[in-house]
């Protein structure tokens, strides 16, 4: 059914958006997301989509325009990253509170400062509590597949929440990969028509969106949003099953790679999971039972399923890799959620955190293999006296250089 093509992660996102053919796209370009908007605007220019493309002066306006559009009942998309996502921040909360099913590719890039344009996850992690569903993608294939599924998840009557589909800036967004795409008609049939129950442009049923909700109503609205996140879990799995029936490609809350008999397990998001698979294979060749758990869904956090997967009796130690820091002194956001998920488990393995790759710092195969070496020692000694390690950060180069630096001043 599917056809093999070579696309970058950004092209895959734009390609999926063309097939989804949303009613409205309001977007602002920002490196490394720019190509998504650029390719999509070509589709608009060439008449290959029916989309109303709204050019705006900032990401705050992009998200505001998207909120207005979705409130009016239109299927709406945008795309951003890094500072752009940060600038959208206050509007992200409005979109989820209005329960608008926006879909947005996010090309993960470090937040300034210092200013940097390369990959890490600090942008999306800054939005993790915003009430948006977050899907993470290892490859261009997953970007494409997640975006198509995101439309169905977002618009599901039980969910009605916005979804961001994350991929690694440059690593995935600009890397050319082979992937399988579906015919336009198949995607259009899969996403179907968007028919909101109520919207602002319905003269038969006038409504008000965004009322002031003070002490007597705000809490109920927030409680309802929390419930929608719960509801999203079975919907995400149901949509994945339907997607698999269409494409043969299977998705869940996370991918378990060589986990069945794994003793030492790494947990990581996005493209680093690809390198980790190589590391796991190499370690297996050397006789180490390594495994990988790659979360696809970070919000809602599938904590029960993750706890089940990570407390299987054979597992002796777990390393959670974070491409973002919480600056709490207790490691990254993924680490904290995974560790909290394991807290109530009767028997739980030691869990270590590795913060890596900030600002696009390359994470090497050798470094990832070394993480499993650490885990072996952790499994043997049992403890985690240093729960958080900064992997691949340059320590002081030498005493002489430091001294030379001092003299120069």
């Amino acid at each position: 059914m599917g056809q093999k093509v070579a696309l970058t992660g950004n092209e895959a996102a734009a390609f999926a958006m063309r097939q989804i053919d949303p009613d409205v796209v309001a977007a602002y370009p920002i490196t490394p997301q720019t190509e998504i908007v650029q390719h999509f605007s070509s589709f608009v220019h060439d008449g290959r989509v029916r989309t109303e493309f709204v050019t705006v002066e900032s990401e705050h306006s992009a998200m505001s325009a998207c909120i207005g559009s979705a409130a009016a009942g239109a299927r709406t998309m945008t795309a951003t990253c890094s500072q752009g996502l940060a600038l959208m921040w206050e509007m992200l909360y409005i979109a989820s509170a209005f329960r608008l099913p926006l879909v947005m590719p996010v090309v993960n890039r470090a937040l300034s400062g210092p200013i940097n344009i390369h990959c890490d996850h600090s942008d999306a992690m800054g939005a993790r509590d915003s009430g948006w569903i977050q899907l993470y993608s290892e490859s261009a294939q997953e970007v494409y597949d997640n975006l198509i599924q995101a439309v169905r998840i977002a618009e599901h009557a039980q969910v009605h929440l916005p979804v961001m589909v994350c991929q690694d800036g440059f690593v995935t967004s600009h890397g050319l990969e082979n992937l399988e795409i579906e015919p336009d008609e198949a995607v259009r049939a899969f996403v179907g028509e968007y028919r909101p129950e109520y919207h602002l442009l319905d003269p038969e049923r006038p409504i008000t969106m965004g009322p002031l909700a003070l002490q007597n109503a705000y809490f109920e609205a927030r409680r309802q949003l929390a419930a929608a996140m719960h509801e999203a879990k079975p919907v995400i799995l149901a949509v994945a099953r339907e997607f698999e029936a269409l494409t043969g490609r299977s998705y869940g809350f996370f991918e378990a790679y060589r986990m069945a008999d794994a003793e030492l397990v790494a947990v990581a998001l996005n493209s680093t999971a690809g390198t980790l698979k190589e590391a796991v294979d190499e370690l297996r060749r050397q006789g180490t039972r390594a495994g990988l758990l790659k979360p696809r869904v970070f919000r809602p956090f599938p904590w029960e399923e993750m706890a089940d997967a990570l407390t299987r009796p054979g597992i002796r130690a777990v390393a959670v890799l974070d491409r973002a820091d919480t600056n709490s002194t207790l490691g990254g956001p993924l680490f904290n959620d995974v560790r909290a998920a394991l807290f109530d488990a009767g028997r739980r393995p030691p869990v270590k955190n590795y913060i890596y790759g900030l600002g696009g710092r390359d994470v090497s195969f050798a470094e990832l293999v070394s993480v499993f070496g650490d885990l072996r020692a952790t499994a043997r000694d049992g403890g985690t006296d240093t729960p958080v390690t900064y992997l691949g950060v340059q320590p002081r180069r030498s005493g002489e250089l430091a001294a030379a630096g001092t003299r120069r001043r």
Partner: protein, 112 residues
């Protein structure tokens, strides 16, 4: 006139106990009941209440002119009372009533 209230349409913008259970609230705190501002009794805010003495009133309608909330009820050119559902207790009417007349006195609301 009391109309059926619909979820947070029942004055979501006020203090006090919850107006609706979170499961019943229309999705996204949407108000499905148009024109329901009519039911919003801003008089709930009041901590002082204007009390009008009909016997002192000379029906000059200064209070009617100055009331910012259209809460002085006038019929056939005559002041007939105060709409306590909407009067917010600002006291402008009491101040504008001619000092020699003093037909409106502000009294503390019980519970305020």
């Amino acid at each position: 006139m009391k109309r059926k209230l619909n979820g947070p349409a029942d004055r979501p913008g006020t203090a006090g106990p919850a107006v609706v259970g979170w499961q019943e609230m229309p999705r996204g705190c949407v108000i499905l009941n148009p024109g329901n501002a009519l039911e919003y009794q801003t008089g709930d805010w009041r901590s002082f209440r204007p009390v009008w003495d009909e016997n002192l009133c000379i029906h000059c309608l200064r209070c009617w002119i100055f009331c910012p909330d259209d809460s002085i009820v006038v019929r056939d050119g005559t002041m007939v009372g105060i709409d306590y559902d909407h009067c917010k207790g600002c006291g402008i009417c009491a101040r504008e009533c001619p000092p020699k007349v003093g037909a409106i006195e502000m009294q503390k609301e019980s519970g305020a």
